[in-house]
C-alpha cells in the first residue's frame, strides 16, 4: 500500500517546473527583501524575543488604563441618582457591569499580518557537520527498482533532467567544481550525456528504504543508496572521486534496460561533492572523459 500511495502522490502532485522556479526567483530579490527589515526598523532586524515582550507590555498598559480610568468615566456618564421617592430598594444598580466586561476584553493585542512570527518555532531537526567522504559499492545481481527504469535515449531529456544544471552562473559552478574536484570542462548533477551520446544518470536514491524523487536530490546523506542508469547495455567503466582525484572503480554491467548492477552506499564520514563518471568500456575509455554526476553529501 505504501508504495502505491507514494506513487499516486508523485503522479498527482508534480513539483515545480524550471520555468516556475526561474520566474519566482526573478520576482523576489533576497537582498532587497532582507534589507527591507533593516530600513523599516531603522536598526538591525529585531530579535525574536522583543516582539512578544512588546506585546505583553502594551497589553498590560492598555489593561491598566482601561481598568483604572474607564470605571470613573462610566460612573460620570450615568444619570443622576434617582430621587428617594422612586424607592432605592427596587432600583437597579446604576453602574451596569456588562459594558465593563466587554471593555475589559478589548485590549487584545493586534499581532499584525505576520502572525506566524508569534507562533512557536518548529522543533528543529538535528543537523550534522560534514564528514569526510566514504562511499562503498556492492554488486547487485539485479537491482529491483520500481518504475523509472527505462533507459533514457542518448542526449534525450525528460522531467528528470529538471534542474540538472544551475541555470545562472554555470561557468561559476564549473570553476568552483574545478577547484574542488578537478573537473575540467563541464559538470552535471544527476544526469549527464557525453559528446559521444552516452547518457548516465541517477535512477533512484533509496533513503531508509524509501525511494526519493524524481527529482532526485543533489544532496545525499550517509546511508543513502544510489542507483544508476545508463543509456546502453553492457560493460561500463565506473569511476568515483573527491577532491580532484577520480579513481576507477572497475567495470560494472548495465542490463538490457540500462540498470547498472551496482549500488553505491554513502558511508559514515562522507562529505562535500562526490563525483561519479561512467563511459562504455573501450580501449580509450578514461575516468576523465566519461559522463559525470555530482552528488553533494550534506
Amino acid at each position: 500500500m505504501n508504495d502505491e500511495l507514494r506513487k499516486a502522490l508523485y503522479e498527482a502532485l508534480p513539483g515545480p517546473s524550471e520555468d516556475e522556479v526561474r520566474a519566482l526567483r526573478e520576482a523576489i530579490d533576497p537582498v532587497k527583501e532582507a534589507g527591507e527589515e533593516c530600513s523599516e526598523a531603522g536598526m538591525p532586524a529585531r530579535r525574536e524575543w522583543r516582539r512578544p515582550v512588546a506585546v505583553g507590555v502594551v497589553g498590560l498598559a492598555a489593561g491598566l488604563l482601561i481598568g483604572l480610568l474607564l470605571p470613573r468615566l462610566l460612573v460620570d456618564d450615568q444619570p443622576a441618582a434617582p430621587s428617594p421617592a422612586v424607592g432605592l430598594a427596587s432600583s437597579p444598580d446604576p453602574r451596569p457591569e456588562a459594558p465593563m466586561k466587554e471593555l475589559e476584553k478589548e485590549p487584545q493585542v493586534n499581532s499584525g499580518d505576520d502572525e506566524d512570527d508569534l507562533k512557536p518555532e518548529p522543533r528543529q531537526v538535528a543537523g550534522g557537520k560534514p564528514r569526510p567522504l566514504v562511499v562503498s559499492s556492492q554488486a547487485l545481481p539485479q537491482p529491483d527498482l520500481p518504475q523509472e527504469s527505462e533507459p533514457v535515449p542518448p542526449g534525450g531529456s525528460d522531467e528528470r533532467d529538471e534542474g540538472a544544471w544551475l541555470d545562472d552562473g554555470q561557468d561559476a559552478v564549473a570553476d568552483a567544481l574545478e577547484d574542488e574536484i578537478g573537473f575540467q570542462d563541464r559538470v552535471a548533477f544527476a544526469d549527464d550525456t557525453t559528446p559521444d551520446g552516452f547518457n548516465f544518470q541517477v535512477s533512484a536514491v533509496i533513503r531508509e528504504g524509501r525511494r526519493l524523487g524524481p527529482p532526485y536530490p543533489a544532496f545525499v546523506r550517509v546511508g543513502d543508496e544510489i542507483y544508476f542508469l545508463a543509456s546502453q547495455a553492457g560493460p561500463i567503466l565506473l569511476c568515483a572521486g573527491q577532491g580532484g582525484e577520480l579513481k576507477p572503480l572497475g567495470e560494472v554491467e548495465a542490463d538490457q534496460n540500462g540498470n547498472v548492477g551496482t549500488v553505491f552506499v554513502i558511508e559514515e564520514g562522507a562529505e562535500g561533492p562526490l563525483v561519479f563518471t561512467a563511459s562504455p568500456v573501450s580501449p580509450d575509455a578514461a575516468c576523465s572523459t566519461g559522463a559525470k554526476i555530482v552528488l553533494v553529501v550534506e
Binding site: 500500500m1 505504501n2 502572525e115 544551475l166 533513503r207 526519493l212
Partner: protein
C-alpha cells in the same frame, strides 16, 4: 535537510557551501550567500506550495508570500543548521492562512448561491475520490501535512515530526490515520 531541495549547487565565494553556511553568511550581510540561499529556498518553498495548493497561480502567490516573510525575518533563525525547518514553519503558517481564506470564500459562495436551494431531487454528494487532490482535501490539515512530508517530500518520520513540532508518537498516529483514510479513498490495497 531532506530531498525537496532540487538539484542545485550552492555557491559561496566560488566555494561549495551548505544551506546552514549560507544562512550564517547571509546574516553577516554577504549578498552572494543571500542570493545563493534565494535559489535554494525558492525551489524548496515552491516545491512545497505546488504539492499542496492548486491552482498553480495560488501556489506561486503563496510561495512568494512565504519567501518575502522569510527573507525579511532571516535574523530570527536561531540555529542555521535548522533553517529549512524554520522555513517550513513560515510556510505552514501562510498555508494555514491561505486555507482559512479559501474556506471562508467558498462558504460565502455556497451560502449566497446554493444554500437556499432545496435538495428536491435527492442529489448525493460524490463519495468516490478518484482524484488524489480530492482525497487529500478530505484529510485534516495535520494529517495531510504528515502524509505529504513523508510520502511526497521524502522526510523520515522523525524529521517530519520535528518539522511539524509535535511528538513522534503523535506524528505516527496522525500518519497512520492519513494513510488509512487516503488508501481507502483511493481504493488502494490495505495497509501492511
Amino acid at each position: 535537510m531532506p530531498p525537496p531541495s532540487g538539484p542545485r549547487l550552492l555557491l559561496l565565494d566560488r566555494k561549495l557551501a551548505s544551506p546552514a553556511e549560507l544562512v550564517e553568511e547571509a546574516r553577516r550581510g554577504n549578498e552572494v550567500a543571500l542570493r545563493a540561499l534565494g535559489d535554494h529556498w525558492t525551489y524548496r518553498v515552491l516545491y512545497w506550495a505546488r504539492t499542496r495548493v492548486r491552482p498553480e497561480e495560488d501556489a506561486l502567490d503563496l510561495a512568494q508570500d512565504v519567501l518575502v516573510v522569510a527573507f525579511r525575518n532571516i535574523e530570527q533563525i536561531r540555529d542555521p543548521a535548522c533553517a529549512d525547518a524554520w522555513l517550513y514553519g513560515k510556510f505552514r503558517g501562510k498555508l494555514s492562512d491561505y486555507r482559512k481564506t479559501k474556506r471562508k470564500r467558498s462558504e460565502l459562495m455556497s451560502d449566497a448561491l446554493l444554500g437556499w436551494v432545496p435538495n428536491w431531487w435527492g442529489a448525493k454528494k460524490t463519495t468516490e475520490h478518484s482524484d488524489v487532490w480530492d482525497v487529500l482535501e478530505t484529510l485534516a490539515d495535520d494529517e495531510r501535512e504528515a502524509l505529504l512530508l513523508v510520502y511526497r517530500d521524502g522526510y523520515s518520520q522523525v524529521e517530519a515530526a520535528d518539522m511539524m513540532g509535535i511528538r513522534r508518537s503523535s506524528f505516527q498516529r496522525l500518519l497512520a490515520r492519513a494513510e488509512a483514510r487516503s488508501a481507502a479513498n483511493l481504493g488502494l490495497s490495505e495497509a501492511k
